[in-house]
Amino acid sequence: MNVFMIFRVAVRAIWRNKTRSALTMLGIIFGIAAVIVVLAIGRGASLNMVAEISKMGNNMVMIFSEQRHAAAGVRGAAGEGQSLTASDGLAIRRELSHLVQAVTPEVRTQMQVVYAEKNWSTTVYGCSTEFSTIRNWDVVEGSFFDELEEKQCARVCLIGRTVATNLFPNDDPVGRTIRIGNMPFKVKGVMGVKGVGGFGQDQDDAVLAPYTTVKRVLQASKFPDNVRHIKLSLYSMDQLDEAKREIGLLLRQRHRLADDDDDDFRIIDMAEITSTMSAVSSTMTVLLAAVAAISLLVGGIGIMNIMLVSVTERIREIGLRMAIGATPANILGQFILEAVVLSTLGGALGVALGVAGAQTIGNLQGWPILVEPSSAIGAFLFSAFVGMFFGFYPAWRASRLNPIDCLRYE
């Protein structure tokens, strides 16, 4: 008896009890559909997050100053250290130019900006001329400040779209003078729309000015060279490890750290942030998938239940088949295959329902959805496994039956 014939017998047995088979399959259908939907939403969300994060910068690496860990005493928050300087950034630019294509120090300060009768509270970023390259953020009107303006601590700035909308609802901002704090600044240009960042902040609510101007003029800092952090852009992420090592060595040297001293800075790349965020979303996906898997388990038990009923119901058929030559293995195969056909049919319908469901939810909620072929195939194969696993016991019981008892069964 070949597999195709057993398959036909199985399909026919299922077809004869259409309603019962359909109801039995429902458990598997919903289980598989739930797995597909959850994975599609989870994968979509995490890919979207990765895309958002990489939008923040172009092969970007960040260096934060960090207080050296003293054995005791007060410790500051991350980025609160005073060790990092704009000169460090310039040194990296100079010494590691084979790896690093752009560097900007970054300082931030929350300021009130005023134009005519309008005012707006926003974050003023002090940066270098290369900021635009590093952040992948272009000027759409006017132009960026130049190196001379940076060197001279010129009172010039660029404004984000949100600031532009609030201060200049009707006018063209380029060339106008706004006040930041109490200082007049000339608006050199308007930045393009950057949108909502990976952490939910409005990236367009910003004013950009040369870091020299922010430190010396706006903040009137006693340590004008100290900066909050340095952002830089590598030529290639393939050189990330090399770049991190080289930067570390250079900074340790510049900061005159002894061999057994801890770093007084921390180098963070986007991959690190991305993997952290992905880990969070993966955890959620795993949890939800576990819930879906439990529903598959329940579906599998449903199949086992109905197969046990089916074996009892068809006990005379089993007896007859054995009497005319079916071996225990034939009977075992027949009932396992029947369970597998039932579960894979449910699995296929579940995959279809899951894909359709995921697309619908994505469209309705505006969520990014990603149905990976591997998850669809995996779910389908798993449904086959469920059928095999839960079909085995009823099939084994059927194969152990005694033909005489079966034939006498009323």
């Binding site: 005319i324 030559g325 005489i404």
Partner: protein, 244 residues
């Protein structure tokens, strides 16, 4: 010479409660190729146990059973299944056709497990067998659409599918009216005349009369064997009827 069936001192002991009960208590017997044998006896005489063991559906507690020269008394379930498939045909009192399955597919079934014929050869043979039992035009009917007599004929066609040397029939007319019973027994007679060995269990004298050799059992013993010498009349004092 080689016998088709040769059993020696066959015993089947059932442990019912404390007391072991011998359904077969040392039966020896040979059946030759082409014989038409009726096994008779009251209910509980051991005739069904005898047929089950001869039909390789059950195994004896002790003794030997040579079928076509092969010892089959102690074989695994799978081996017995293969022997049943190739050497034996079964005909049951209640027909045992697969419901909601057409007559022709019921007839094809033994070859599903043997796999001797290809798809079209199997269909052709099944059709020829249906023709042979007089159901030429009924191949696509399901058992529910056939009368009892017709269903039993489908069952006979099925039993012949793998060309077994011997047919076992367990009360083949038990569920049939007189007219159908006569038709079935005539068919058996024809098959017997063609050289097929038939071993039939019955408790009806007029059905047994179609057979050429008569065995009578009582309490697990073979108490009479007319050896096929044409004696259809049963000895006085042996009642074989009564059990419905």
């Amino acid at each position: 010479m080689e016998h088709l069936i040769e059993i020696r001192d066959l015993r089947k002991i059932y442990a019912i409660g404390e007391e072991p009960v011998a359904a077969l208590d040392g039966v020896s017997l040979t059946i030759e190729n082409g014989e038409f044998v009726a096994i008779m006896g009251a209910s509980g005489s051991g005739k069904s146990t005898m047929l089950n063991i001869l039909g390789c559906l059950d195994t004896p507690t002790s003794g030997s059973y040579l079928l076509d020269g092969i010892e089959v008394a102690r074989r695994s379930r799978s081996e017995l299944a293969r022997i049943r498939n190739q050497k034996l045909g079964f005909i049951f009192q209640n027909f045992n056709l697969l419901a909601r399955t057409t007559a022709i597919e019921n007839v094809e079934l033994p070859d599903f497990y043997l796999g001797r014929l290809g798809r079209s050869a199997r269909r052709a043979r099944a059709r020829a067998l249906l023709e042979r039992v007089g159901l030429g035009g009924r191949g696509t009917h399901t058992p529910a659409q056939l009368s009892g007599g017709q269903q039993q004929r489908v069952a006979i066609a099925r039993a012949l599918m793998n060309e077994p040397p011997v047919l076992f029939a367990d009360e083949p007319t038990g569920n049939l009216d007189t007219k159908s019973s006569i038709e079935i027994m005539n068919l058996f007679t024809e098959l017997s005349n063609e050289g097929i060995t038939i071993v039939m269990v019955t408790h009806e004298d007029d059905i047994a009369a179609y057979a050429k050799r008569h065995l009578v059992m009582r309490d697990g013993h073979l108490i009479k064997d007319d050896g096929g010498r044409g004696a259809t009349a049963l000895p006085v004092g042996i009642s074989v009827g009564g059990a419905a």
